[in-house]
């Protein structure tokens, strides 16, 4: 078994990024550094989950979090007191803790370390390195530069980047941000600046950051540290500027801006504030500083506290993992009923929110089979809704598609809401509307409160694509292109995608007569973060078009012929049917059912009833986490209450998104079919028998790190430090320029997830479980360095299940070692309904209370 370590490459890339504080200032270099560490979240309309500490990903997890904590002051794990409480409540199991200490410290040190973990007092306060230099202004000159500069800076940035809130838009100039400001300032009686000096500097143009830093800071050795202090005092705005610079297409109304321009403008505003408040009575900051410049990014020495926290975190994670392993082993011993003729098959997204729906549909119709696969269903393209002026990317974010699918023949017109019209904010129309719309608003508010309904103001998952529209899926000829994209796929291209999709999930024979392809999306009201609830594999959008496209392709005669020649023979009576599951409202819509053969149409009609029942049960299961719903109500009532939540303006939690995600299981459904995993598992279907050498496994596992790992880590960090790495509570959020949210009129943009999305989440790293021979899995993860980094650096855990023996192998420090769970047997439940009805709701969202809501693994009898 090869256990090559890839740390060499990781080290070298780390070196490339370390700064030598006394080196001459290199603008390009410093800008690159800054961008590396700034948050990468783009404009909110597309929400792509990613590791909040992506900048530290070349380090191992623990090194990274402790280093990030020291540099930027982030909280990096739960607090020591919280761990101790979790231990005393039994959530962290004592046996597991014992074992973690033993494995890490050796037998002789167990007692000593247990004492440290449980009793020893530590100073757990962090004092970050960032910000110390720039604090000098307050210390030596009693001037609060942040207060003097930030409100106006944010206001101007937001006005410039604004996508459509302001009625009077920023007068743009061709050259970008600074050019636009110069154009304004050079032809105006008023000025953003208070002093002539700063305005002159601006109008002179041609600036170098270095020149301005010389005025503000003075000594070159401090420049980099100063810029870090400055930009990280508002990491949200700096991050979005850096993101838009790199990916201007993230904005519908594009803007040219760069981090460099932001820094120059901010320095000018600082100079302005300094002259305005201090006159000439100030010198560059470095004149007052006696401490040598600090290397912010220098390594952080290991401390005993780090070690203690690390052991606690490991024990916290393994206390959950252990039950999962025991549960899956238990499943292996259950006698599975022999495979019968399938009533239907249904593909779902691997999303952990579909985990429960699959369980319920299997329960309602015992003969059906469900499969999991990333929700873009292997078809990558841009989608243009009818009359749409833009293309939506419908595939994972890193992929750049070459195809375009256009919607046409939609009859319905999009409705409007007068209360959102910009006229209500103007002088004349605004006056008119207060006398008219004002009273309509009162009626609307009463409607919203007492009978919430879908409206144009609510983001509706089903409105992403019109059910009755036509899609240009088949290419009409290679000259049919738009903006360098090919309209539709050729038959051959379609066949390749269908084959790839079917093979990856092992669905190459035993086709049922109907194969459903069910994507997901999420409807929610009054929620700027709605994109975070849609399908991650579709760049944060509903996957309805993909479901419909794959079904069309798989039903295509030409495609089937090609598949036949490749050994996948789909019976003629088999038909694929696309659908979309609204994970907030718990509703499913099916597409193109007119084309079903009479026999299939009849079967589909019956299946609809089964889906409805499954949705009822799914709604019931979800309702246990919503205090507004009494879970013991009748199924239709619970279902209605769930539907209402998704269209209620007053409901900040239409659903809980990916909260609680912890597992990613790649293998046959039999492994987990009889388990209650509490909607915590990404389930990817894969049959090792159809892929003995693991050729397909590589492709299948490549996105697991960035997609599932990214989601998991974003939840981890937003849960651990909701103030700095999360977006804080949603309740005071103010939408800024349609690109993000801030807490108030003058605040910094808040990247990360809001409190309402993460409070159910246990901050536990993702555990990937792959059903294949350990050496095959090892070869697979090592075959791609970027993929290997996730595992070798422990950002994500991975275990291999030996498909023949059912034994588990845990990947540690480069090799798979056998893992025997301490848990002998998991609990069993007779009925999910009972379990759900008896489960308690959290008392508060404090982690020790909140985690009680997350149920352990149960075996279903």
């Amino acid at each position: 078994m090869g256990s090559i370590k890839l740390t060499a490459t990781a080290d070298s890339s780390q070196q490339g990024l370390s700064i030598e504080a006394h080196a001459p200032f290199d603008e390009g270099h410093v800008l690159q550094h800054l961008k590396h560490y700034l948050p990468t979240q783009g404009p909110l309309k597309d929400f792509i989950h990613h590791n909040s500490l992506h900048a530290f990903q070349q380090l191992t997890f623990y090194d990274a979090i402790f280093k990030a904590s020291k540099i930027f002051g982030y909280q990096s794990t739960l607090q020591l007191t919280e761990f101790r409480e979790l231990h005393s409540t039994g959530r962290i199991k004592d046996g597991i803790l014992q074992r973690v200490i033993l494995e890490r410290k050796g037998e002789n040190a167990v007692a000593e370390w247990k004492g440290k973990l449980l009793q020893k007092e530590y100073d757990t306060c962090t004092t970050p390195r960032i910000g110390t230099l720039r604090a000098g202004w307050k210390e030596y000159y009693m001037i609060d530069l942040d207060n003097a500069v930030q409100p106006l800076l944010f206001r101007i940035l937001c006005s410039y980047l604004d996508q459509g809130i302001a009625i009077w838009k920023f007068p743009l100039a061709e050259g970008g941000f600074l050019s636009s400001i110069i154009q304004l300032e050079s032809n105006s009686f008023a000025s953003f600046f208070k002093t002539k000096r700063a305005k002159e500097l601006l109008l002179r143009g041609n600036f170098e950051i270095k020149e301005l830093l010389e005025i503000v800071v003075g000594n070159e050795a401090y420049y980099e540290q100063y810029l870090f202090d400055q930009q990280f005092s508002h990491r949200g705005w700096s991050g979005i500027v850096s993101n838009i610079e790199e990916a201007p297409h993230g904005l519908l109304d594009r803007r040219k801006i760069s981090l460099r321009e932001l820094i120059i403008f901010e320095l000018l505003l600082e100079i302005d504030a300094l002259y305005d408040q201090l006159g000439n009575a100030w010198k560059p900051l470095s004149n007052s500083i006696s401490a040598p410049p600090e290397n912010l990014l220098a390594d952080v020495p290991q401390t005993e506290l780090h070690e203690v926290l690390r052991i606690w975190q490991d024990a916290f994670e393994q206390s959950y993992y252990d039950g999962v392993v025991a549960g899956i082993i238990g499943e292996k011993h259950k006698k599975n009923a022999p495979t019968v003729a399938r009533s239907f098959q249904a593909m779902f997204c691997i999303d952990e929110r579909e985990c429960s729906l699959r369980r319920h549909i299997e329960y309602v119709d015992k003969d059906c089979e469900t499969l999991g696969t990333p929700g873009f269903f292997g078809v990558e393209f841009y989608f243009q809704p009818q009359d749409g002026k833009f293309y939506d990317k419908l595939c994972p974010a890193p992929v750049t598609p070459k195809y375009l699918i256009k919607e046409s023949e939609v009859m319905e017109k999009r409705a409007h809401e007068a209360l959102y019209s910009s006229g209500t904010h103007s002088f004349f129309a605004g006056t008119l509307s207060t006398f008219t719309l004002g009273f309509w608003a009162a009626i609307r508010l009463i409607q919203n409160l007492f009978s919430p309904k879908m409206s144009p103001a609510i983001s509706d998952a089903f409105a992403h694509m019109n059910k009755s529209g036509r899609l240009s899926i088949e290419n009409k000829g290679l000259e049919d292109r738009e903006n360098e994209l090919q309209v539709g796929f050729t038959v051959k291209e379609m066949a390749t995608r269908v084959e790839g999709q079917l093979r990856s999930i092992g669905l190459i024979n035993h086709f049922a007569s109907i194969v459903y392809v069910i994507a997901h999306g999420s409807s929610s009201a009054n929620n700027p973060h709605h994109g975070a609830h849609d399908c991650g594999a579709c760049s944060g959008r509903p996957g309805s078009v993909n479901a419909r496209v794959l079904s069309f392709m798989a039903n295509h005669k030409g495609v089937r012929a090609i598949l036949q020649s490749k050994g996948i023979s789909i019976p003629e009576e088999t038909q694929f049917v696309g659908g979309l599951h609204d994970t907030a409202a718990d509703q499913i819509q099916f597409y193109d059912t007119d084309g079903l053969h009479p026999a299939n149409a009849k079967a589909h009609y019956q299946n609809l009833a089964a889906f409805e029942q499954a949705l009822d049960l799914n709604a019931k299961e979800r309702s246990r986490r919503f205090s507004s719903i009494n879970t013991k109500m009748s199924l239709p009532k619970v279902r209605k209450a769930i539907l209402d939540r998704s269209v209620s303006m007053f409901e900040p939690r239409p659903e809980l998104g990916h909260g609680t995600n912890t597992l990613c299981i790649i293998g046959r459904r039999d492994m987990t079919k009889g388990l209650f995993l509490d909607r915590r598992a990404f389930l990817n279907s894969y049959d090792y028998r159809t892929d003995p050498e693991g050729k397909l496994l590589t492709g299948l596992m490549r996105p697991i790190g960035p997609v599932c790992g990214g989601i998991n880590l974003e939840y981890y960090f937003s849960r651990i430090d909701n103030y700095k790495l999360g977006a804080g509570t949603k309740l005071p959020h103010n939408v800024m320029g349609l690109i993000g949210v801030a807490n108030s009129s003058d605040g910094d943009l808040r990247a990360g997830l809001p409190l309402q999305m993460i409070e159910v989440h246990d901050p536990v790293r993702l555990l990937v479980i792959v059903e294949h021979f350990p050496d095959v899995v090892l070869n697979t993860i090592q075959s791609v360095p970027e993929m290997y980094e996730w595992y070798i650096n422990e950002w994500v855990h991975i275990m291999a299940v030996h498909p023949e023996t059912g034994r588990f192998y845990y990947f540690r420090e480069g090799a798979f070692v056998e893992y025997t769970p301490l848990t002998k047997e998991v609990g069993t439940v007779k009925s999910i309904i009972q379990l759900v009805e008896s489960a308690k709701e959290m008392e508060t969202n404090y982690i020790v209370d909140a985690t009680k809501e997350n149920l352990p693994v149960y075996s279903i009898n």
Partner: protein, 619 residues
């Protein structure tokens, strides 16, 4: 029938006290109580208004309760009801109910769930006290409560810097409005020698004879009323506080700054119209404020790129128009305008988060890109000015606060020992001359009181500008209050020891409690400099609450004897003593601000101990 009016205050009052007793975690009961109160209030309002309409809608006035009485002066609670009250009561009750319903789910699991609903009930008390008030005293009590609710709701997320900073900013401006009202009250005491009721103002003969006899003084009263109204309704030049107040949960921004609170300036004008309605100068002033505000706020609204600030400025624009309507005597129109604007802005604020998906979706279908925009020099200037909010924020800061900060800073050079010594000498002199000698000469009757008042003001400003020791700042306030009382005692014989005791009883007790709170924090946390925010509420929530009550009590909030003391105190300063009254007024503005500043810096903001997640300063 008029006897029923008090129920509109008593109902939320009872609700508020019950809400304080409820367990923090029981959301159902907390929200249920507030909603119950709101439902009863609304039904009561509808029934009452219906009955009132059927009885030919008379103007009602009832003297409810005498709080304090001497031979010269009677302080009493008075209720009043007319069409303005009817509309404000109905709209207020309805919106309170709707917002309470909205908040029930919206605030689920918020750490301040109970705090929010208790404050909401306190707000209902203040609002109704104000709109049902029949005299300035009653109105003022409601007005004060609203100010405190504002502070509490803006600083709702008290562990972050910006909410706390902005709460202080808003309360500073509000405080100025309070003092305008106090001055108006003071002058009217002087002129009428009684607590004038709004019902009496309807007597046109009385009012006009009054204007003829004492035109300048009457003008002063009207001016103060207009200024208080302009401040409360965010009119020029005070507009910039409104967008900065949008720091609390969206629902509180909606009811406070979208609808009810911000329209109370309009209400004040409606209520006092009989008093100034025939005076051209005042009417022109109000119209000028209204025109100026609506034009400028409309231009600022056009460039706002954030949803909530856009709504704030659109609302200010409409309120400017309401000012004009009131001045022109179009009161029914103003009332309809108020209702429409209140509903519209509340709704827009409540659904403001959904603007992102709605407008982005619209863009997908209707967007046409513009490459380059060139504007004339004038338009460029207008654009820049509008983005900078016409420098209103900086203007207020520079003109209103900076001079006082500067004066306050001058006290810093005094060492603690010298300050204490000087204070002791002054106090001793004051006490000596008040109690021991008879006050006949110029020195004791004129110069000494002035000296004491000036030193008191210096102390208060010193406290306001203090950056180091919180305890010292607090002692300054305490000392200042004793000096103020003494100085009035010396100035006016009839301001007896009983009055002084009345004034001091609340303030001194509060000061001692407050000092104990600070001492407790100081002993365990060592440094309690006022140079930064400490956020100690995280570890000492109980002490923080106690200290807040002490602050409010020492500032003479209408639940303490100090409040009556202040009222008495003002009634004893004659109308010719401008300089003295200015000193008093400024002192009272800054006592509350200095006290709240200490509260904010010690207990609110980012917690200085970083063993748990702490917010960024810029959030």
């Amino acid at each position: 029938m008029p006897q029923l009016l008090q129920l509109f205050i008593l109902l939320p009052l009872v609700g508020f006290f019950i809400s304080l007793l409820l367990p923090r975690k029981n959301e159902r009961v907390i929200a249920g109580l507030a909603i119950g109160v709101a439902v009863l209030h609304l039904l009561g309002a509808i029934a009452f208004i219906g009955y009132w309409l059927l009885n030919d809608y008379p103007v009602l006035d009832v003297k409810q309760l005498t709080v304090y009485q001497t031979e010269h002066l009677e302080i009493f609670v008075d209720f009043y009801f007319d069409k303005a009250t009817a509309v404000f009561a109905f709209v207020g009750s309805l919106l309170t109910l709707l917002v309470a319903l909205f908040s029930r789910s919206y605030l689920h699991r918020d750490e301040g769930y109970k705090r929010f609903f208790s404050t909401l009930l306190l707000f209902v008390i203040g609002y109704n006290l104000l709109i049902f008030s029949g005299n300035f005293e009653t109105l003022f009590v409601g007005w004060e409560f609203l100010g405190i609710c504002s502070f509490l709701l803006i600083a709702f997320y008290r562990d972050r810097y910006l909410p706390v900073k902005n709460a202080l900013k808003v309360i500073s401006v509000y405080r100025l409005g309070d003092i305008c009202l106090i001055l108006a009250m003071w002058m009217s005491h002087q002129l009428w020698h009684q607590n004038i009721t709004f019902a009496q103002l309807n007597d046109a003969g009385l009012v006009s004879s009054h204007w003829q006899e004492a035109g300048n003084y009457a003008f002063f009263i009207a001016l103060m009323i207009v200024m208080a109204a302009a401040i409360k309704s965010a009119q020029l030049p005070f507009s910039s506080w409104l967008p900065r107040a949008m720091e609390g949960p969206t629902t509180s921004s909606a009811i406070f700054y979208g609808s009810l609170s911000v329209h109370l300036g309009v209400f004040l004008l409606l209520r006092t119209y009989p008093y100034w309605g025939d005076v051209l100068g005042i009417k022109i002033l109000i119209i000028a404020i209204g025109v100026g505000t609506s034009m400028i706020a409309a231009s600022i609204a056009r460039v706002q790129s954030t949803v909530k600030t856009q709504i704030a400025y659109s609302s200010i624009t409409q309120i400017g128009l309401m000012f004009i309507e009131v001045a022109l005597g179009w009161h029914v129109l103003a009332l309809i305008h108020f209702a429409g604007n209140a509903f519209l802005r509340t709704y827009q604020l409540l659904v403001s988060p959904s603007v992102l998906s709605y407008l982005i979706h619209n863009m997908v279908f209707y967007f046409t890109p513009k490459k380059e925009v060139r504007q004339s020099r004038l338009m460029n200037s207008l654009y820049i000015l509008s983005v900078k909010e016409w420098n209103l924020d900086g203007f207020l800061h520079k003109t209103l606060w900076s001079p006082f900060k500067w004066i306050g800073k001058q006290t810093r050079s005094l060492s603690n020992a010298i300050a204490l010594l000087l204070l002791a000498i002054l106090l001793a002199a004051g006490v000596y001359f008040y109690f021991v000698t008879d006050q006949s000469n110029d020195f004791t009757a004129t110069y000494l009181p002035f000296a004491l008042a000036i030193v008191a003001l210096m102390l208060i400003l010193g406290s306001f500008a203090e950056r180091q020791n919180a305890k010292r700042a607090w002692l300054f306030i305490m000392g200042a209050q004793v000096l103020i009382t003494l100085s009035i005692g010396l100035l006016h014989e009839e301001f007896s020891a009983t009055y002084m005791l009345m004034y001091l009883s609340g303030a001194i007790l509060a000061s001692i409690i407050g000092y104990a709170c600070l001492a407790k924090i100081a002993s365990s946390e060592k440094d309690i400099d006022l140079n930064r925010f400490h956020g100690h509420v995280y570890e000492y929530p109980g002490t923080a609450a106690l200290f807040l009550i002490a602050c409010l009590a020492s500032a003479g909030l209408p639940f303490t004897p100090t409040f009556i003391g202040i009222d008495l105190l003002f009634s004893h300063v004659g109308k010719s003593e401008y300089f003295f009254i200015m000193l008093m007024a400024i002192s009272f503005v800054f006592i509350e601000l200095a006290a709240l500043r200490i509260y904010a810096r010690i207990f609110l903001g980012q917690h200085k101990k970083q063993y748990h997640p702490i917010a960024y300063r810029s959030s």
